[in-house]
Point group: C2
């Protein structure tokens, strides 16, 4: 078991430290703790990123707060630090690893000191799934000769900050055996309490006082080849969680200590087992793909805001402060499907975040002279847009480049609507509409209404001056993807209006009156008949990405790369190398085809895939999974598999851009992880949830003998087993109703406990 679910790397390469911080990240939705070593500091990008807590210092970006590092720990041998990257220590062997089945980080390092002493340091840690405020660590060492050894541990303030420091007013408080470091965010003065308790189960250590850095020293005259162990619990609470974070953190430490490390770990593992029970995908015949997909799901799970009412997942999850800890369209378009079909209650929390931030979206629309809801391109706590107008610096001149991510990516509102509709479709549950989802959808439709222009000579409505998913081409007209999202949104608003009016007439009346939406709805219905969405050309079947795209200079990403003057040069912006060519940053027309597959015949999908693929740089991690998905749908198994693996392994290999201009954009890629799941489940397994039924039509990659996966759909749970020639679906005994499955062209209505076994022609 351990082999399948573990990532282990050997040796210590400074070049790998940042990437390992992501690969070996642990987390529980409340916090993410980077995969750094216990002795690391800010230079090695130590970070304990708190979900949903943002702070801003001066004119710099607002970004998530990294808590002080309660897990800091290192060995001093005869007063000399024994640590990776410490002077006068040689590393005989080092392994760092992660058990991603249970989110347990571990390290084992054999040091050889200048005097020949061998020191072994081992540690293991996890971010408890219950309670999510607690981090637990087991820290051990042994020495080859009798030595005076101290373990230096404390709450270290030397943590990574992009635009910090975000905490001030530090105060160290002692509560019984717990020490609590109290601090306050700079902007809003929100208290953040980090508590630690150290356990010495054998009672062998003596108090060595305080280190230079103010940490405590646990001292011992160590005997050779005996392993000494300390346990540590760290608890973090903020003023957003409770009124008195100091007490809450201290109490959590005490309670964890009382329960003990093993008991805490046991409960933690039970909760992870429950997660895998509803999500694990086994792929017989391809252990590599299986492992990558499981690892991808791990990354999603550790970011899942299970503890919250209404919280979403940032684009770099909880791996740090990159991208301002902001939520992008990534959530609705790439992460949501995984949760919809495993834990729809978590999907619901993600969407509630969009309800909670609706007023921010309204403010943004008003700021741009529009009505309705224009969701933030980079959304933090309030829904106001954190995206700056000059988002990238030109590496050639050092000057800021005007980018139009914030102003022109109007497709974001459509992504939110798409999220809500996916929820309703996957769960069959109307309640989120009533809780605010309907209001959000209507306001998004109203926003598109107010962006629309009518072209009299063509008798159609157009959406002008927008940026599609391909950010290298800003301020374009009639981006096919965007216009399709507009039409989808207007259509959804009309359908929803009909449904709510019929089923919830009082609710509907109140909503429509409160929003003053009657006339808008009439306008939307009228407009819907005349929405212009660029269609495949009759002859070539190609969809033009936007007005005039085909007239741009034809080029490939490699050709542009040869023209680059600096490796981090930004290819977009007003005068970027790609901006005036056909090189696109990421799936754009292909994103449209992935979302609205059924609207386009396979020949059109193939023609566009073949055209756009060699012109796509995949400069965003969102690109590969969509290329995989569309390739799977047109039977291009090999290419689909390549793009799927590229998405699924992105945080294992770190094969993603780390810089745009002079901007560091490293971190984890939960959207690619979610996209890998989509490629596997929607793509290869052909599992698609429609309005009325679940369709299963597997087209497995070569070597995939059988796939087994659990699936939540339409309020029930199902176990699927798919091979190239057969589909088995078992409805859970506890299901409350029947759900129609369409397999091999036939519909089977699965009652609770029922199993179907269909051979495919």
């Amino acid at each position: 078991m351990r082999e399948d679910w573990t990532v282990v790397e050997h040796g210590c390469d400074p070049e790998q430290v940042a990437r390992r911080g992501n690969t070996f990240l642990i987390g529980n939705g409340y916090l993410g703790y980077r995969g750094t070593l216990e002795e690391y500091g800010s230079k090695q990008l130590v970070g304990c990123t708190l979900a949903g807590l943002y702070d801003r210092v001066g004119e710099k970006w607002r970004e998530p707060v990294n808590a002080p590092n309660g897990l800091f720990c290192r060995v001093l041998c005869e007063g000399e630090p024994v640590a990776v990257f410490a002077p006068r220590t040689e590393i005989a062997s080092h392994e760092q690893g992660l058990c991603f089945r249970y989110g347990i980080h571990f390290r084992n390092t054999r040091f050889r000191l200048a005097d020949g002493t061998g020191v072994v340091v081992s540690a293991e840690r996890f971010a408890c799934l219950e309670p999510v405020h607690v981090l637990a660590m087991k820290f051990s060492f042994s020495v080859s000769d009798v030595r005076t050894v101290a373990v230096e541990t404390g709450i270290d303030r030397d943590v990574w900050d992009l635009n910090g420091p975000h905490l001030g007013g530090f105060r160290l408080v002692a509560r019984d055996r717990v020490r609590v470091l109290e601090a306050y965010t700079q902007e809003a003065g929100i208290p953040v309490a980090t508590a630690e308790i150290v356990l010495d189960p054998e009672g062998v250590f003596r108090d060595g006082g305080t280190s230079e850095a103010g940490h405590r020293l646990y001292e011992i005259r160590a005997e050779p080849d005996r392993t000494y162990t300390l346990y540590k619990f760290v608890a973090i609470y903020t003023g957003k969680d409770v009124a008195d974070p100091v007490s809450a953190a201290a109490d959590a430490c005490m309670r964890s200590a009382a329960a003990g490390y093993e008991a805490m770990l046991r409960r933690h593992r039970e909760l992870w087992d429950a997660r895998w029970a509803v999500s694990d995908v086994s792929i017989a015949g391809d252990p590599e793909a299986e492992r990558a997909l499981r690892y991808s799901m791990y990354q999603l799970w550790i970011a899942a805001p299970e503890h919250a009412e209404a919280l979403s997942i940032p684009a770099r999850a909880l791996s740090g402060q990159v991208y301002k800890g902001a939520v992008f369209w990534d959530t609705e378009m790439f992460m949501l499907p995984f949760f919809l079909h495993t834990r729809p209650d978590i999907a619901r929390k993600l969407l509630r975040y969009r309800i909670r931030t609706l007023d921010g979206a309204r403010r943004k629309a008003a700021e741009y002279g529009r009505r309705g809801a224009f969701y933030a391109w980079e959304s933090q706590d309030t829904g106001d847009d954190a995206c700056t107008l000059f988002n990238v610096n030109d590496v050639l001149t050092g000057r800021p480049i005007r980018t139009y991510f914030r102003d022109k990516q109007i497709h974001i509102s459509g992504a939110v609507v798409y999220g809500f509709l996916q929820y309703a479709r996957a769960t069959g549950d109307d309640s989120l509409w009533l809780e605010g989802g309907a209001e959000a959808v209507l306001e998004c439709a109203r926003f598109y209404l107010s962006w629309a222009y009518y072209k009299p000579d063509k008798d159609r409505y157009e959406w002008l001056d927008v940026t599609g998913p391909d950010e290298y081409h800003e301020r374009v007209h009639n981006n096919a993807y965007t216009n399709a999202m507009v039409r989808f949104t207007l259509h959804t608003a009309c359908e929803l209006a009909d449904r709510l009016r019929k089923r919830y007439p009082a609710f509907w009346r109140e909503l429509v009156d409160r929003l003053g939406f009657r006339r808008d709805l009439a306008d939307i219905r009228r407009m819907l008949k005349r929405v212009y969405v660029p269609q495949p050309d009759d002859r070539t079947r190609l969809i033009e990405q936007f007005d005039g795209y085909f007239g741009l200079r034809d080029a490939t990403p490699d050709e542009l790369k040869a023209e680059m003057l600096h490796p981090h040069e930004y290819l977009g912006g007003g005068n970027g190398l790609a901006a005036h060519t056909q090189v696109v940053k990421q799936a754009d027309v292909i994103a449209l085809l992935a979302l609205f597959e059924d609207d386009y015949p396979v020949e059109a999908r193939r023609a566009n895939w073949d055209y756009y693929e060699p012109r796509t740089e995949h400069g965003s991690s969102l690109s590969a999974p969509l290329y995989a998905l569309v390739a799977a749908g047109i039977g291009e198994k090999r290419k689909a598999y390549e793009y799927f693996m590229r998405a699924a392994t992105i945080d294992l290999t770190g094969a993603a851009k780390t810089h745009v201009g002079d901007l560091y954009i490293g971190g984890t890629h939960p959207a690619a992880n979610g996209g890998a799941w989509m490629a596997a489940v929607h793509g290869f397994c052909g599992v698609r949830v429609g309005d009325d039924s679940v369709r299963v039509a597997p087209a497995l990659p070569d070597g995939w003998e059988a796939v087994e996966l659990p699936l939540a759909a339409k309020g029930g749970r199902f176990a699927l087993r798919l091979t190239e020639g057969a589909v088995r679906v078992r409805a859970d005994d506890a299901n409350r109703g029947s759900v129609p499955f369409v397999v091999g062209g036939k519909t089977y209505v699965l009652r609770p406990g029922e199993t179907i076994d269909v051979r495919l022609a």
Copy 2:
């Protein structure tokens, strides 16, 4: 007299050579001959630019053809060249000058050779007004000691070319005493014949054979302090002029020789006197302004296509190949008024060029998926746009910058319409409408119709994604100037339709049927009621240059200059320093106020002048005259005078940009010259020709005691004399009808020969 009408400069500074080439330019509308010395070559930018003859080599720009230099001439003393910038010669004194009353270039240079010999070289030349194919030169020298001197002269091929060589297939032909160099343009194979004849009136020179460069040597044993003189006539004909250019050029040389230099000069001066009789403005009390204004008019006269049927004036006139020899909106907006009120027959030729190139404008509209006529931003022979999509190179990276001059400056079509309307208004002549002007106007209106979008929630039509006169802000929405030009065009089309239908019903029926314009006209009438033109704010009275302009970073041109990394850095384009600030390149809102002065109260004009002036870089020579004009209208005499002088002296001082990016843009500035005339006559003299009358309301700058000027208007000619307190107008005896003049609030209908003398309150 000579002092007033002459520009003389002393000394030889290599840095001044390019500028002097412009300042001392001579020309006659058929050709421009740069103000270089007789011994200069391509390095000193010798150019004889032919109007309307374009050629293209390979992938380079199409640009005007420079003829071989028939005026090449230099002295060899004992075989050694005696020339400016020649080695081993010292210049004791040098003057170069221009009599701009008659367009006569002269130079006097005293050389001191290494052996102490003094050599004086003098020359004088003019580009005949009749025939325009002929250049005449008188070339003299004297020596201080007995020396063997040769005059080397011929048709030199070493001339300035930006993207040449444009001529090939050279063949030297002898015709009697004339030598003709025949050549052909590269692209279209059009023959160009340059003929020369050398006259030795005293018969003192002997044939010295041929120089190394293939020129002829006229040799003499020169006596001390005696002046020896040769005369030379050069004639140029192309295949666009006649079927046999070689014979035509040879004949022209022979005829000129037969007439003799003095007779040719006499006729030339008569024709110039006739020009000044209809245009000279005398300004009592301010000889400096008077001289600058006369010089400005000189620059316009030497570019006037008097010889042609339908030809316009390039933005750099005939001073070289800069800006591709292309015609811009400069002609209609800045040069036309001068001709309208001096020689309306020349104004007509300029506008006929737009009729001749209407099909090119139609092709351009179609290229951009529009209907009607989208005139070329840079128009050459066919009206197809010579403007490239990447018009400037980035000096920081060497990369081309995407500019939207060609695609988005839709105001060009409005400028053409404005030109036609000005003609009709100034002359009272309908015939140009019938000759094609009406068709051009309707097609321009149709173009704007097809660019329009309707904004449903605002119930108005908008013009989106355009570039106004301020080219630093490309791709903006609802540029106030552009939208005003659109409304003006649609309005003009409607008024014209009414007029033609009433007065020329058969013509109108044929036109409207041929163009299929009935439905468009109905659409235009409907649209006209809903055209959005940004208006002055109720409180601030400011007009926003385009949607969102006031939201841009506020900055001044000086602030941006401090940020520049290179002196020639282009401030516009996608990421130029000005592009995302309020710094504007040139008058834009102020251009609107200059054109439609009567539509805006003086307070609004003042508020906008005060706001935009400190934010304007005047990066185009078109800017200053418009700032002068509007300043004059709001009573800001001092500021108006400053801007007027800046415009009027631009080609004397050369105080204009010579580079944009790595692009050389030096040359003369006929638009600024015409703008100076507008500022003086429309602005200070307050002479405005309306639909039914001529208004005269002087507001003279301090020190201008009296202004006298002739004025052509409404088919008549008038002599005006203005002081701050009085206006005298005399109608020419030869006028055919009466013209109403409005002076001091009263209307006076001037019959032929009548004079009014009005004291102003």
